[in-house]
């Protein structure tokens, strides 16, 4: 138990040390603290994994956080299969990226700050995955959001960066709004917000409908959807995906760690965690599946035409996350988590490679201005190539197994929209392969299209960066092997491992079907690669032609379907406008203040008018007295 706590506490300690001493004492040695801390928690995580493999799970409170009436919540630790996997993913990626950052962030004036934030992020992420109740989850949830805010806006003097950070935070708040309400309703329903009691009692409310804001709704659907809001926000699913592409303003390691490998997958983790609730609501499941599918398609389509290397990967992340939701939606939580786990490796790798490229290109992001980097930076090239193969679902690579399992379970699963989402998934698989290799080809093959001095200064990145690449590459290739399906004579260990949590996903279908589907997706992948090769190696004129031919489509895609513009038009601007013109301008200034100031002014005017009576002429005074007498007499005698 106690040493388990080291997992989150070490990074926390690192954070505190760095933030307090980093600026003046540690300076460019700041990374040591963080790296050791993360390494420490990695080791412990591995131990935890082993424990869990020996069937040793744990659910304990550390200390009581809040007590108010019947509402009681503590900070606690829950160790089970899911946690174990997440721990490994988080700590591993985090550790490697810490190391990578040493080289990448070298000489930055915010060096210590960077590592402090990374450690803080790691801490929050670990709190999130290790939590045994919803509120602590929420704590980690907001915590990682905060870190991403910090890290996106790391170069805060850039307006775009600080904008992006703010945007990420606020968009997430929209999701958390639902999440929070979800937690509240969970408490009101179960009288507790601990996973244990909640999930165990959930069955009892399977048929319960309640009146929510005047509508009769199915209780579990309500809760599930509210939680899903949170997930959407954090995992950048439609319609709250807008923040993630902008998040690329942050340093590349951040994109790799937070916006690819770990934080964004928190949504998936949440749904997997709450599978007992989701399972009770078909509506929710369908919605999750569809959201995932549509998002993945949508994001992939945008990725096809982007020029910015990081944005391409970002959109691919969104679409891959869509995959995971799709999986959860069809009840294949295991597959979803499996893909989460594999994706973490190859997507982190992709980002780090991109970073390495940028490092060489001295910050250039536009792939149109690259090309032929293969010979300058072989390590980067090969690792990135492997990553792309993995993401394109080339058999044998990690991505293949997870993606394939998802598609198969979607197709064979009981979910009503299963077939549909399978179709979408397959199309997306094709697109993924296409844009991934478009990226590879444009970047590493062909002639260099950049400027002279850029070319002169091209070089392979330092060891601290390449070594993590290689290590991750190992993951990107091999991570999938723990889940080789029986069909291919594998043991499907991962599924077995997860069984205690998610049970065995029921799939109705023969091995033949499974095999056929596998073929289809593989074909899709390869055709995508092939098409990319055709477009960007052989007939480099085609893309341009297409671009001109379908210019409108192209523009829409390039501008990400104008979603950002839409939001700023229907939410941001109106809010500020109302604040300025209606509330401040009219309600406060005109209505309330006119009363507040009007009354005194009126009295003042009255006063000045009343003064006139006091003419200073004695006769008038006497007359007033007499008049008073007259009135009193009249009223008292006649009235």
């Amino acid at each position: 138990m106690n040493n388990y706590l080291l997992v989150p506490l070490l990074p926390l300690a690192a954070f505190l040390i760095n933030i307090l001493l980093g600026r003046n004492i540690l300076r460019e040695k700041a990374h040591w603290v963080s790296i050791f801390a993360v390494a420490g928690s990695w080791i412990v995580s591995v131990m935890i994994l082993l424990d869990v493999l020996n069937g040793k799970t744990l659910d304990e409170d550390v200390y009581t956080w809040i007590i108010s009436g019947t509402f009681k919540v503590s900070v606690g630790v829950l160790i089970d299969q899911l946690t174990a996997v997440m721990l490994i993913v988080v700590t591993t990626c985090s550790m490697l990226i810490h190391i990578y950052s040493v080289g990448y962030m070298h000489g930055d004036k915010g060096y210590y700050r960077f590592f402090a934030y990374l450690s803080l992020f790691t801490f929050c992420m670990l709190m999130l995955v290790m939590s045994n109740n919803f509120l602590q989850l929420y704590f980690g949830w907001e915590g990682v959001g905060l870190c991403s805010y910090f890290l996106i806006g790391f170069y805060f003097n850039k307006k775009s960066a600080s904008d992006a950070g703010k945007k990420a935070f606020i968009v997430n708040r929209f999701g958390d709004f639902g999440f929070g309400l979800g937690i509240i309703i969970i408490f009101l329903t179960f009288g507790s917000i601990y996973y244990g009691p909640v999930f165990s009692q959930a069955g009892g409310f399977a048929e319960q409908t309640v009146n929510f804001l005047g509508y009769d709704v199915h209780l579990m659907t309500l809760i599930a959807l509210l939680l899903f809001c949170g997930a959407i926000g954090k995992s950048a699913q439609m319609p709250l995906h807008v923040w993630l592409p902008d998040a690329m303003e942050g340093p590349t390691p951040v994109s790799a760690l937070i916006h690819a490998a770990t934080m964004v997958t928190a949504g998936v983790f949440l749904i997997a965690r709450c599978s007992p609730i989701f399972n009770l609501s078909e509506v929710a499941m369908v919605l999750v599946a569809l959201t995932g599918a549509i998002t993945s398609l949508f994001a992939a389509s945008i990725a096809l035409v982007q020029k910015d290397i990081k944005r391409i990967i970002a959109y691919s992340t969104i679409s891959q996350l869509g995959y995971m939701f799709l999986a959860c939606g069809v009840g294949a939580y295991t597959a979803g988590v499996f893909h989460l786990y594999t994706h973490a490796f190859f997507k982190a790798l992709l980002f780090l490679c991109a970073g390495s490229v940028m490092h060489a290109m001295s910050g250039e992001l536009n792939i149109q201005k690259m090309g032929g980097l293969k010979k300058y930076m072989p390590v980067t090239y090969w690792t990135m190539l492997f990553a792309s193969l993995s993401i394109s679902g080339v058999p044998g690579f990690a991505g293949f197994f997870s993606k394939d399992e998802i598609l198969w379970l979607a197709y064979a699963g009981t979910n009503p929209v299963g077939k549909l989402v399978w179709a979408i998934g397959t199309i997306v698989a094709f697109m993924t392969a296409f844009y991934s290799f478009r990226l590879i080809f444009l970047t590493f093959h062909g002639e260099f299209r950049g400027t002279q001095e850029q070319e002169r200064h091209l070089h392979e990145s330092p060891k601290t960066m390449t070594i993590p690449l290689i290590l991750l590459c190992v993951g990107a290739v091999g991570a999938g092997w723990v889940g080789i399906p029986h069909l291919l004579g594998g043991g499907a260990y991962f599924t077995e491992f997860m069984k205690p949590l998610f049970g065995h996903p029921e799939a109705v279908g023969t091995h033949a079907e499974e095999g056929m589907l596998m073929m289809i997706s593989v074909i899709a992948g390869f055709s995508g690669i092939g098409l990319a090769a055709l477009f960007y190696l052989k007939r480099t004129d085609i893309p341009l032609k297409l671009g001109q031919q379908f210019s409108s489509v192209y523009r829409v895609l390039f501008n990400k379907y104008y979603v950002d513009e839409l939001y700023s038009f229907i939410i941001v601007r109106p809010a500020i406008w109302t604040g300025r013109n209606i509330l401040a301008g009219i309600t406060d200034a005109k209505i309330i203040e006119s009363v507040v100031n009007g009354v005194p002014n009126a009295i003042g005017g009255f006063s000045r008018a009343l003064r006139k009576i006091q003419t200073g002429v004695l006769h008038h005074y006497a007359a007033v007295m007499a008049l008073g007498l007259l009135i009193i007499l009249a009223v008292m005698l006649l009235g």
Binding site: I603, R611, Y621, G628, L629, I632, M636
Partner: protein, 476 residues
């Protein structure tokens, strides 16, 4: 055929003593050049009278003179008033170049008039008391002979005063015709016995009384003299008038209406309530746009009359006790305010414009602080004495079922806060334009010390005063 029997002089001793001493002061003035001595003598004579008041309870001159707790309390207010007035006058008269001994004698005579009013048991005595007080005050108001404003003040005060007292006489005449007596108690009995309640003639006479007394307490619409007179009169006399005659007016108002017309309270309450509201309203509202501080305080004192009237209207002992308490407290805080105003007067500088107070806190922090306290007290903000006065009266009114009236009064008192605050604003929140030179003197300092101490101490420990007022009214 009644044989002449020497009436019991014990109850009336204070008045007699003060009269003799006043005459002595008058004579002393002939051969004492240093007027400070005269002032001292006057204070001593007042002191003597006060001492004699200790065992003066009783009724004498076959019911024409009543010395009860009620009157004694009022007399204390009068003594206080006259002493403070004398204290603030000493230096001031020199500045105004009217440093004559008669001034003090007249103050004393006026005070005697008030005392007689307070213990009048007969309308004749009451009338003569009023005249005694009024005539002396007319003269004092016009005491600065060479000053046109002072003349004007006294002319206006005098003519209107005479006008009002004619009405009072008419009222007395009618009531005499109705009841065949002028003794207040007898009138009450007669009205009760012969069921005169609701008789229009009685009503008319009552209304005449209302006019006369309203004039004395400066209640709207019979207040018109007050602003001009207060502004024109010597500042010390303004202070004197704003407390003494007002209190005396309330004394007779209470005596006549609660005793003689006690049985027809409903009727006169119906008359007084509108008057009270008007008084508070006009007083507070017109005060807002004043530029001369004496004039502003004139309107403020009108407004205060309005609050106090509420106490009378309730017609309960509690209300009357409220009136007593309020008047006592008002004496302190108003005197204090005027003491500060007098400080600003110097040979070449009138110092009665509100703008003269700009930045006083910077040039004379102490004076500003004092004024601050008095202003907040007049507003009625705790922990100053002013609050308890209002509180007492309002509580009585609510107790008598006049909650709405109290709400009205409170709204007006909020309005009043605005013009009292204006002084504070000028003193503390504006920059001084030219440095005003304060003329201070030990006596003035003493007056300020007394008033300040009273305002604060009563503000924090009002118990004594309240108890005293209650005891004073036992058997009223």
């Amino acid at each position: 055929m009644p044989e002449f029997v020497m009436p019991d002089l014990q109850p009336i001793m204070p008045e007699i003593a003060l009269t003799c001493l006043a005459l002595a002061v008058l004579l002393a003035d002939l051969f004492i050049k240093r007027k400070e001595v005269i002032a001292l003598l006057s204070i001593l004579s007042v002191g003597t009278a006060a001492c004699l008041m200790g065992d003066s309870l009783g009724v004498t001159f076959n019911g024409m003179f009543i010395s009860d707790g009620y009157s004694i309390f009022f007399k204390l207010i009068f003594f206080l008033n006259v002493i403070l007035t004398i204290l603030i006058s000493v230096k001031y008269l020199v500045i105004e170049r009217v440093n004559f001994g008669e001034y003090y004698a007249l103050l004393l005579f006026s005070t005697i008039g008030m005392m007689i009013m307070a213990s009048a048991g007969d309308l004749v005595v009451l009338f003569l008391g009023i005249e005694l007080m009024a005539l002396s005050t007319y003269i004092l108001a016009g005491f600065i002979r060479y000053d046109v404003k002072s003349n004007e003040a006294s002319v206006k005060y005098f003519l209107l005063g005479a006008f009002a007292s004619a009405f009072l006489l008419y009222g007395i005449a009618i009531i005499y015709g109705l009841t065949g007596t002028t003794n207040i108690q007898a009138i009450a009995d007669y009205i009760g016995r012969n069921g005169l309640a609701g008789n229009p003639v009685l009503m008319v006479s009552m209304i005449f009384f209302v006019i006369a007394f309203s004039f004395k307490i400066a209640a709207v619409p019979f207040h018109m003299w007050a602003p001009d007179t207060y502004e024109g009169a010597p500042t010390s006399i303004t202070a004197f008038m704003s407390v003494g005659p007002k209190a005396a007016g309330f004394a007779v108002l209470g005596r006549v209406f609660l005793t003689a017309f006690g049985s027809v309270r409903v009727e006169w309450a119906a008359i007084l309530i509108p008057i009270a509201i008007l008084t508070m309203g006009v007083g507070n509202i017109v005060a807002l746009s004043q530029t001369n501080i004496k004039r502003m305080l004139a309107y403020s004192s009108i407004a205060h009359a309005g609050y106090i009237l509420i106490g009378i209207i309730t017609g309960t002992l509690q209300g009357t006790a409220g009136v007593l308490t309020y008047l006592l407290i008002y004496a302190f805080m108003n005197m204090g305010a005027f003491a500060v105003i007098i400080m600003l007067r110097s040979e070449d500088f009138r110092g009665d414009k509100i703008t003269d107070y700009k930045g006083l806190a910077k040039t004379h922090p102490l004076a500003a602080a004092l004024m601050l306290v008095f202003m907040f007290s007049l507003t009625g903000i705790p922990p100053t004495a002013g609050f308890w006065g209002k509180f007492y009266i309002f509580m009585a009114a609510i107790n008598a079922g006049y909650t709405w009236l109290v709400v009205v009064a409170l709204i007006f008192s909020v309005i009043s806060a605005y013009f009292y605050l204006r002084i504070v604003i000028y003193m503390y929140m504006k920059e001084p334009k030219e440095t005003v030179r304060l003329t201070t003197s030990p006596t003035l300092g003493l007056a300020l010390a007394i008033t300040l101490a009273a305002v604060i101490i009563i503000g924090v420990f009002p118990d004594r005063v309240i108890e005293f007022a209650r005891i004073a009214l036992t058997g009223f």
